[in-house]
Structure formats: C-alpha cells, structure tokens
C-alpha cells in the first residue's frame, strides 16, 4: 500500500514539475499515440501500413506549416485567422502566374512569400504599433484575401504547367519503411515535397523558440505583457515579428498547398483557419498566451487528420461527421486544458503554503 502511494505522489510531483507547455504537449502526443494504437488494434490493418501515416502527412503538410505560424502568434497572446484566406490567395496567384503569364516555379514561390510578407507587414503593424485587436485586423485580412482571390480569378482551374505537375508528382521514398502488397512486393512509403518544408519549418521554429533570445521573448510577451515590458523586452517588435512570421509561413504553406492540389480556386482552403486554430489548441497552445510548442502543434494537426481517418473508416462517411467529430475533439481538449490549468493553479497556490507550514 505504502509504495503505491509513494509512486503516485512521485508521479504527481513529476507532473507538477513539468511546465504547462511540456505537460500539454505530452498529453497531445500521448493521445495521438493511443488513438493510433486503438486504430491499429480495432480497425482494419490499413493503419499498420506506414503509408497511412505518410498520406496524412502529405495531405496536411500545408496545414502543419500554417498552424506552426499560428502557434507563434498564439504564444504571444494574439490570434491570426487570415491564414486560410492567404493560402487561397497564394495558390490562386501562383496558378494564374504559371498558366496565364508563363511564369516559372521560382517566381511563383517568390510571389507566395511576397504575399505572405505583405500581409504580415500590414497586419503586424496594425496589431503591434496601432494596438488594434488582432482578431479584428486578421478578420479583415481574411475577408480581403478571400475577396482578392475572386478578383484575381473567379473560376477554379487546374494548372497545366509542366514544372508544377512534375513537382506535384515528386515522391521521396523512405528507406526501410513500407509494406508488402498482395503479390508480396515491397512498396516503400513515400512523402511529397511539401513534407520537407514541414520538417524544416517545424525544426527551425522549435529551435528558435527553445534556444534563442527572440524565441524566449515570445513566451515572455505572451505570459505577461507588463512583466515583459519591465524586463526590457521590446513588446511591440516581438508582436510585430510574430505576425510577420505567421503570415510568411501562411504564404509558404499556401505554396505547399498549391503544389499538393495543383489548382487554383476561390474555395480552396476554406475553413483552414479554423482547422489551424483547432490543431494549435489540441497541440497544447493556450489562447491566453505564453504556453505552446510547435511539436505539439504538429501532433495536433496529425490528431485531427487521424480522427477524420478513423471516423470515415468506421463507416460514418456522411459529410457531416467530419465537422462534428472535429468539434467534439476540440471541445474535449479545451475542457481538459482548462481543468488542468485550474487544478495546477490551485495546487501551486496550496503548495507554497504547505511548504511554509513544514518549515
């Protein structure tokens, strides 16, 4: 009996020693792994194939990049709901540039990043220096981007540019991972070109957030603006930078999205802003700011993709089930988050007093 209590209390103290960021990230990763294991155990064997995982990654590469940028903004305590609109605008502009103006892929990439940069500069300036609510600014940004997409070209069309088609079909096979088909041949798993961008962005942002001064500034500003100001952090510049990076990543994500779908349409990426916010939250980013991690966001996106996959393979394949399951999942995570944070606050408050009594 006694050792059991001891291990429990040791576990509890270990959990309470974890920072909020790490705790929420570990919950997300654990949930993702448990869901995947359940899917392998109780559903078809398809989930055992590595390709299932990589398919989810391929399809959601753009979403991961966008969500990482959004996480950065959310860490500083802001929000950006223009990412979906920027994606649609970027893919439409790239498509028009490639097909109607005989452009090349490098130019399209530059256009994508340029659009992202422009959005980031304007939105960042309005939010950081004019101190307008980020929600309203980026709402207008989303409206503007969606409207501009229609103005640039109103009809959806497929891009016939050869370079793009080649890029779209580029498959990077992964050594040692794969499955045997019915004839017993080994088929290696593959990933698309966008996944490389995902890896680069996730790793880069993780390193910046963890080990650089600028990265720590984001957490400081999100945790408490007042304290950050007193510590001598340039709060306005940090907020500006977060919006700039977010929009820039939205531009990059838009280009990756464009490579994945190979077409331009005003209806592209509709609802992506909500998916991006949902994945960031599921990944353990708190909207109050100061808590979050891009690794968690990555698993947030994958959890969303996985749950959609599971729901459709269970047989609920009517279109409305996707929306409902995402909503239920978001709801659960939000409630779990708020309960954990409240509990920890209580225990943090009671702990010092308990220690004081002992002393």
């Amino acid at each position: 009996m006694a050792p059991q209590i001891q291990t429990r209390s040791r576990l509890r103290s270990r959990i309470s020693r974890l920072s909020d960021t790490n705790l929420l990230t570990s919950i997300t990763v654990a949930v993702f792994i448990v869901m995947y294991l359940c899917a392998i155990l109780f559903l078809q064997r398809g989930f055992l194939k590595p390709q299932t995982f990589f398919n989810m990654l391929n399809a959601n590469a753009a979403l991961v990049i966008m969500s990482c940028g959004l996480t950065l903004v959310m860490i500083t305590g802001g929000i950006d709901i223009s990412v979906g609109g920027v994606t649609a605008l970027v893919s439409m502009c790239s498509a028009v540039y490639l097909d109607y103006h005989g452009g090349n892929l490098f130019g399209a990439l530059l256009i994508s990043l340029g659009i992202g940069l422009a959005f980031g500069l304007v939105q960042g300036y309005l939010v950081a220096y004019l101190e307008i609510q980020p929600f309203i600014v980026t709402l207008a940004g989303m409206f503007f981007a969606r409207g501009m997409t229609t103005i640039v070209h109103s009809e959806p069309f497929n891009v016939a540019h050869q370079g793009l088609v080649a890029l779209k079909d580029t498959r990077i096979s992964i050594p040692f991972l794969g499955s045997f088909n019915k004839r017993g041949d080994f088929i290696p798993a593959y990933m698309e070109i966008g996944v490389l961008a995902v890896i680069a962005v996730t790793a880069g942002l993780f390193a910046v957030l963890k080990w650089t001064k600028t990265g720590r500034n984001f957490y400081a500003v999100g945790g408490s603006r007042q304290s950050a100001l007193m510590l001598g952090i340039n709060v306005k510049r940090t907020v500006f930078l977060s919006h700039l990076i977010c929009s820039l990543l939205a531009g990059l994500g838009g280009f990756v999205f464009f490579i994945h779908v190979g077409s331009g349409s005003p209806a592209h990426a509709s609802g992506y802003e909500m998916n991006a916010i949902a994945s960031s939250i599921i990944g353990g980013t708190m909207l109050t700011g100061g808590v979050g991690n891009v690794i968690g966001t990555f698993f947030g996106v994958m959890s969303l993709a996985l749950i959609q996959n599971i729901v459709s393979s269970v047989g609920f394949d009517q279109p409305w089930w996707t929306g409902i399951t995402i909503a239920v999942m978001l709801c659960l995570f939000l409630i779990v988050q708020s309960i954990i944070i409240v509990k920890r606050k209580q225990s943090n408050q009671s702990e010092p007093s308990a220690n004081a009594e002992k002393g």
């Binding site: 709402l139 207008a140 309960i339 409240v342």
Partner: protein, 365 residues
C-alpha cells in the same frame, strides 16, 4: 475673456458630440450616403409596385437595406450583449442560424419533404427552434463562463460543427414549404408595403430597449464586462450573467433563423447566413463598442448593422461580385479601425487642434 469662454464652450460642445459613441456609425452612414448621392442619386429612389401575389410593395435600394439589414440588426443586439459581458465574440451565429432554420423546417415538414399542408403551427416550430438555439447558446455560454475558455475559441466548436448538425437534422435533404403564410416573416404581410423583417427588428429593438431601461440587465452586463472581480465582490454572479447573454443571443439567432428560412421557404445548409458572424461583429465594432468588453451602446450597434448592409448594397450597385464583396468590406473595416485606434485618434486630434489655433491666429494677424 467672454469670447474665449464662449469659444471654449462651443469647442467642448462639438467635442462632446464627437466623443459620443453613436457618431461613428452616423458618420459612416453620412459618408456612404454622400458617396452614393454623388455617384448615382437614383440609388435613393423608392418605387411602389405589386408583387406576384398582387400586394403593394415598396422597392428600391433603401428598402433592400432595411429588409436585409434586419437579421443583422437582430443579431447585433445579442452580439453586443455577449461582447460587453464576456469581452469576446460569438463566431458560431451563422452556424446556429443554420441549425435553428433546419429545426423550423423539420418541425413544419414532419417526415415529408414536400408537404402540402404544414405539419405543425408555425409558432410551435418557432418555439422549438428558440429552445434549440437557446440550448446551443447555453452550451457556448457554459464553455465561456464555467470553463473560462476564450469566447472565440469556445464558439469555434459550434462554428465547425453547426452546419453539419443542421444538415444532419434534415438528413441532408432540402424540404420545401409551400404554405404561403410561412413566407410572411421574410417577405411582406398582405396589404403592408414595408417588408416584415423590418418590423420584427423594430419589435426586437423595442423589447431590448425596454429591458435595458427597466431592468438592471444592462448595468450588470457592463459591470461584469468592465471588471469581473469587482462585479463578483459587489454581489453579482458573473457566471450566470455571461450565461444569460449567450442564451439571449441564442434567442436572437432563432428569430434570424425564422426570417432566413422564411425568405426562401427552404434551406441551403452551406449558404444560409454565410459570413453573417463577421458582419455581426463588424456591426458591433462599427457601433463604437469596445470589442474587449465593458460599456456598450445598443442603438449604435443596430445602426452599425444597417450601415454594414448599406455598404453591401452600395457595392452590389456597383456590380461587385458577391464573392469579391469581402475585399472591399475589409478595406472599409481597416480604415475604420485605424481611424478609431487610440494612438491615431490622439494624433488626429492634435492635428485638428493645431489647425484650429493656426486658423485663429491668422485672421488676428
């Protein structure tokens, strides 16, 4: 000496008007009207005609504005309360309208998708829709009030799921209601040439005005929005008040749902009330209300809603595609918020003062 005091009095009178909240939507309205007057005075022309049923109806851009702006005005009532109490906005209203519209159609049609007669009285369908919408409002409110989730994120849940739930209620079918009395709510009452939604909005406004005037709801909502802890110390229950505002918004949503489905006698789950959440938030912002909660002005919000519709109609007049509408709206919104940003305002007023003093000194010199 006396001249100076008079001048100062005049100045303070002007600045007090300028500082009044309702000046923002009125200024926007005047600006838009002026623009239309210069561009095409026929914009304001109203004609009396007859609709297909032979009833006299007024038509014209202004009538369209008070007709289509009414849902937005009704929503703005609830949205203002929610914004004031919780310092955040409900972005699920469009989805919730789809749900309540779907419920109304479901109750009226029963199991048949093309009924010749209504399966239930309209009032019953409306009350059921009210209950459902208020339940969803209570769900949002509970997340915000009990679990302390930011309103925008809490309502994101219903925003993602709402239209799916609406489709689910009717098995993704598109029932059509052929009963004529159902079209009255979104169209015209026989013999009255002014569209009914305007009267519904007026009724809602009067009720809200009376409630705010004769009960302490408005005061409570503002005090919770300004400082939750102080409100709590003063014996208010912030949780209940926040919950109440979300439930009231649910009621507004149900009314909008009735008008929306009555307009077309059927429902399109993905299109009904599309982007209306954005317009409703803009209406609150345009009314000069702080989006982070606290004091509010209901009349300014409602006027803001009609100004938004004015803008929409103006843009349609200039042959702007309905999908491209949002780009222009966004520019207008950005200009508005930039002008109302505190730092810009300070600079502007400094500039005005500078001009004023230089204007005074020049004639003297």
């Amino acid at each position: 000496m006396t001249e100076k005091t008079v001048l100062r009095k005049q100045e303070s009178w002007i600045s007090s008007i300028l500082r009044h909240q309702i000046i923002i939507p009125i200024a926007a309205l005047l600006l838009l009207s002026l623009f239309n007057l210069i561009a095409d005075p026929s914009f304001f022309c109203i004609t009396l005609g007859h609709n297909s049923a032979g009833n006299p109806v007024l038509s014209g851009n202004l009538i369209t504005i008070i007709d289509c702006g009414s849902e937005l005005a009704i929503l703005a009532i609830g949205m203002t309360l929610v914004t004031a109490a919780s310092g955040g906005q409900d972005i699920s209203v469009g989805a919730a309208i789809a749900i309540s519209g779907s419920v109304i159609i479901r109750v009226l049609c029963g199991t048949n998708t093309r009924p010749d007669t209504l399966q239930a009285p309209i009032i019953v369908a409306f009350l059921v829709a009210c209950l459902v919408a208020m339940a969803f409002g209570a769900f949002n409110g509970a997340l915000v009030a009990f679990f302390r989730i930011q309103p925008m994120v809490a309502t994101l849940i219903l925003f993602t799921a709402g239209r799916s739930i609406a489709a689910w209620i009717n098995n993704n079918e598109l029932p059509v209601i052929s009963d004529e009395s159902f079209t009255y709510f979104g169209g015209y009452l026989p013999g009255i040439p002014i569209p009914t939604p305007f009267f519904i909005a007026l009724l809602c406004y009067l009720i809200t005005w009376a409630v705010l005037k004769f009960t302490t709801l408005g005061l409570y909502v503002q005090s919770v929005g300004i400082n939750e802890k102080t409100a709590h110390l003063n014996g208010l229950n912030p949780v209940l008040i926040k919950l109440a505002t979300y439930i009231l918004l649910g009621l507004c949503v149900a009314v909008c749902g009735l008008i929306k489905v009555s307009r077309i006698s059927t429902i399109n789950y993905s299109v009904i009330a599309k982007d209306i959440e954005m317009d409703a938030i803009l209406a609150v912002a345009l009314g000069g209300n702080s989006l982070s909660g606290g004091k509010f002005n209901m009349s300014a919000s409602i006027l803001g809603a009609y100004v938004i519709q004015f803008l929409t109609t103006t843009l349609y007049k200039f042959n702007v595609q309905s999908d491209a509408l949002s780009a222009y709206k966004a520019v207008v919104v950005i200009v508005l918020v930039v002008l109302s940003a505190p730092s810009v305002r300070e600079k502007l007023s400094a500039l005005v003062r500078k001009l004023h003093t230089s204007g005074q000194t020049t004639p003297a010199a």
